[in-house]
C-alpha cells in the first residue's frame, strides 16, 4: 500500500497543467468559469488544439491515436482539465461511440470514423433514449427494417444532447420485434444529413437549449453503418454505458466549483462582512469538501484497481457510488453557489441575450447560478438515475 502519488505522476500533473495554461484560449476558459454554455466553435477549436498535441483521445488504444497512459494518468489528465477548467472532449464521440467502433466495428468503420472523432471533424450525438423508455432503456421502440442494402428507420429519440450541432448520431434500433426486448436491438450509425431526420429543441427549465428530440421518418441507412452484428446492439450499449468510470464522478468539476464558491463568497457580503467569513457558510462548504475528498479517494481506489487489473471493459458495480455521490456533490455545490448570490439569484438572463448593457448592481456572475442549480438536477437522473444505481448496488454488491 502506498498512498502517495509517484514522482512521475506529480510531474505529469505539472505537465498537463502547464499545457492547459499555455494553450487553452482565454475566452473559452472565461466562459467556463462564468458557467456559460459553450458554442460549437469553442469545442472544435479546443479539441483540435488537444488533438494536435496528441491528447485528443487519451484513453484510446495507441493504434487509434491514444496516448498509452494508464488509468491513473488518464484520471489526472481529466481532473486537471476539469479543474482548470477546460472543456472536456465531446463525450458522445470520444467516450461513447469511439470505443464501440474500435472494439466492435469493422476496419472500414474504424478508418472512416475514428480520426474524425479525435479531431472533432464529426460531431456525434447519442440516440438511445426514447419518450417511453427512461430508465427502462431496453423498452425502446424505434424500428429499423431491412430493405435491400439499407435499413429503413422510423421512430423518435429524445434527450439528445447537442444534436443541433451533430453530423452523426449513433442509435439503438429494434431490428427484431419478436425477440426478448434486449435481444432484438441493433446499433446503427446514422448521418444526420439523411432525409427524414428532424431535430427539435427541448428547452430545459434553466432556459438551456442543450437537448433535443430527434424524429426519424423513413430514414434510409446503408447496411455498412451497422456496428457488429444485427440484434447484438444491447451488448454494445452495455459496453458503452459501463465505460464511463473515470469521468462519472466529475471530481475536477466539483473542485473547480468549490474554488469558485470560495472566490465569490469573498465578494458577497453578509451582515457587513464577506460571506466566506460566516461560520455557518464555511461549515456548509467544508461539509461538501469532506465528501468530495472522500469521493476523490474512492475514485482513485477504482482507478488504481483498474490499473492493476488492466481495463477489462467491465463496469465495477462499486462505481455506482461514483455516480451517486458525484451527482449529490455536484448538486450540493450548485445549490450552495446559488445561495452565495442571495437576492441576486433571482434575475434571469436568457442564455443568448447580450450582457447587461446598463450599469447595474447585479453582479455579472450572479444570474447563471440559479440556472446551473436547476440544470444540475439532471445529474441524478441521466445515465441511470440514482435510484437505479442503488438498485444495482443492492443486487450486484449486496446480493439483495
Amino acid at each position: 500500500m502506498d498512498l502517495r502519488f509517484t514522482d512521475e505522476e506529480n510531474a505529469f500533473r505539472e505537465e498537463v497543467r502547464s499545457f492547459f495554461r499555455d494553450n487553452l484560449p482565454d475566452d473559452i476558459r472565461a466562459k467556463m468559469i462564468d458557467g456559460e454554455h459553450l458554442d460549437k466553435p469553442d469545442f472544435v477549436r479546443w479539441t483540435k488544439i488537444l488533438n494536435a498535441h496528441g491528447w485528443g483521445v487519451p484513453h484510446w488504444p495507441e493504434e487509434h491515436g491514444g496516448t498509452g497512459w494508464g488509468p491513473m494518468k488518464q484520471y489526472i489528465f481529466l481532473e486537471e482539465l476539469q479543474k482548470y477548467p477546460a472543456p472536456q472532449p465531446l463525450a458522445f464521440g470520444v467516450n461513447m461511440v469511439g470505443p464501440v467502433i474500435y472494439t466492435f466495428g469493422n476496419q472500414a468503420q474504424k478508418q472512416r470514423f475514428l480520426p474524425a472523432i479525435a479531431n472533432l471533424d464529426d460531431w456525434w450525438c447519442q440516440g438511445f433514449s426514447e419518450p417511453g423508455s427512461g430508465s427502462d432503456l431496453a423498452s425502446l421502440k424505434t424500428r429499423a427494417v431491412r430493405d435491400g442494402d439499407h435499413y429503413v428507420v422510423n421512430g423518435q429519440k429524445t434527450w439528445t444532447t447537442l444534436a443541433q450541432y451533430a453530423d452523426w448520431i449513433f442509435c439503438l434500433v429494434r431490428t427484431d420485434t419478436a425477440a426478448k426486448k434486449q435481444e432484438g436491438i441493433s446499433f446503427l450509425l446514422i448521418d444526420m444529413k439523411t432525409p427524414g431526420i428532424e431535430v427539435r429543441p427541448i428547452v430545459t427549465i434553466d432556459g438551456g437549449r442543450e437537448i433535443n428530440e430527434v424524429f426519424l421518418t423513413d430514414v434510409r441507412v446503408p447496411v455498412e453503418n451497422l456496428v457488429g452484428e444485427e440484434n447484438k446492439g444491447w451488448d454494445y450499449a452495455k459496453f458503452l454505458l459501463g465505460n464511463e468510470r473515470t469521468n462519472i464522478a466529475r471530481i475536477g468539476v466539483s473542485k473547480q466549483r468549490v474554488a469558485r464558491i470560495r472566490e465569490l463568497a469573498a465578494l458577497e457580503m453578509a451582515g457587513g462582512r464577506p460571506l466566506i467569513e460566516d461560520e455557518r457558510f464555511r461549515e456548509k462548504l467544508a461539509t461538501i469538501e469532506i465528501d468530495l475528498k472522500a469521493l476523490e479517494m474512492t475514485q482513485l481506489r477504482v482507478v488504481a484497481a483498474d490499473a492493476k487489473r488492466g481495463n477489462t471493459g467491465k463496469p465495477d458495480p462499486a462505481s455506482s457510488i461514483l455516480k451517486i455521490k458525484g451527482s449529490e456533490i455536484q448538486q450540493a455545490t450548485t445549490h450552495l453557489l446559488m445561495e452565495v448570490m442571495g437576492p441576486y439569484a433571482a434575475p434571469y438572463l436568457p442564455e443568448h441575450d447580450a450582457r447587461w448593457n446598463e450599469p447595474s448592481e447585479v453582479p455579472e456572475y450572479a444570474p447563471v447560478a440559479a440556472p446551473n442549480y436547476f440544470n444540475n438536477r439532471k445529474v441524478s437522473i441521466y445515465g441511470g438515475s440514482n435510484e437505479i444505481q442503488k438498485n444495482i448496488i443492492a443486487k450486484a454488491v449486496l446480493g439483495l
Binding site: 417511453g132 453578509a270 460571506l275 437576492p343 433571482a346 447595474s360 440559479a370 437522473i381
Partner: protein, 384 residues
Amino acid sequence: MDFDLSEEQSMLRDSLDRLLADTYGFEDRKGFMATPEGWSTDIWRQLAEMGLMALPFAEADGGIGGGPVETMIVMESLGKALALEPYFATVVLGGGFLRLGGSAAQKADLVPQVADGSLRLAFAHTERHSRFDLAHVATTATRDGDGWVLSGSKSVVQHGDCADRIFVTARTSGGTTDENGIGIFLVDTGAEGVSRRGYATQDGLRAAELTLDKVRVPAGAVFGDPENGLPLARRVVDQAIAALAAESLGVMGAMHALTVDYMKVRKQFGVPIGSFQVLQHKAVDMYVAIEQARSITLYATMMADSEDDAERARAMHAAKAEIGRGGRVVGENAIQIHGGVGMTMEYAVGHYFKRMTMIDVAFGNADHHLRELARAGGLFSAAA
C-alpha cells in the same frame, strides 16, 4: 381552535380557484408571460372585481376587512395557479405599508386606488451588499424644505417595473447598517430622477433595478416615522413572509399532485413507477413536508398581526426556514421522480420548482432565518 374555513372564507377560496382554473392554464400562463407586462392585465382586472385588492384593508378605509387568514387563502390559490400578477407586491407589501404605516390622509388617498386595481405598488429594499438585511440602507433621504430628496440604487424590486409607486427604504441619518435613521418613502415612478430597468426573474415573474437620482418627494410621501421606519418595514415584511408561506403551500401542493398523478400513469419495466416502494416513500416524504409546512404556515398566519415584534419575528423565522427546507424536499423530489420530463420548460412541474426556489430566496432563505431564530434565542425560549 378551529381550523375550518368560515362560509365566507370557503366562498373566497372557491371563487378564486374557479377563476384561476378557467383562465390560468399552462398555455394561458405562457401567453401572459410573453406580454410586455409579463402578466395578464385582464386577470388583474378580474381579481380586482372579485374584491381581492380591497381584501386586507379595513372597511372604514374602503376595504373588505380581511385578515391574515384571508390573505393566506388568496396566496395559496395564487401559488397553486403560479399566478404572475403583482398581487403580492401591490396588496401584501404595498398594502401592508398603507395599512400599518399610512396616515388617515394617505389611506384615504391610496386605498381606493389599490382597491379598484388602478394603482400598483412595490417595495424596494435590496441594495448591493445588503443581502437579506432590511437595516442595511445606503440610499439617502435628505430633507429639502417640506419634502425630501432621495438618491441611491435598489436591486431586484419585485414587480418594480410595472409599479406606479414604490415604497423605498432610505437613510435619513446614521451609518449604512444602523437600525435607526431609516425612513419609508413612497416614490412615484414617473417622478424626475427615477429610472428603472425591468427584467424577468428565474420563476417567470418580473423585477426591476431602480435608480433614484436626486428624486424629490413631498412630505406626504413619508410613511411612519422618517427617523425610525425600520419597525414598520419589519412588520410589513413579517406579514409578507406569512403570505409567501401560504403561496408556497399552493406551489408545493401542486408539485405533489402532479408527481403522484405521474407516478400512477408513467410506466417503467412494465409497471407504474408508483409501484416502486422507494418512490412511494419519497412521495410520502413530500407529503409530510407539505403538512408540516401547512402547520407552520398556520402558526405564522396566527402570529402575523401580533403586536409583539420579537415573538412575531421568531414565528416568521421559523416559518420561512421550514418552508424553505420543505420546499426543497418537495421540489427536488418532484423533479427527480418525474425524471427527464420534469427538466423541460414545456412541463409544469419545473416552473413550480423554480417558483419555490425563488420563494426561498425572497426576504431571506432558510439558512438565514434559521440563523436569525438561533440568535433570537430559539422558538420556545420565552414561552413553551
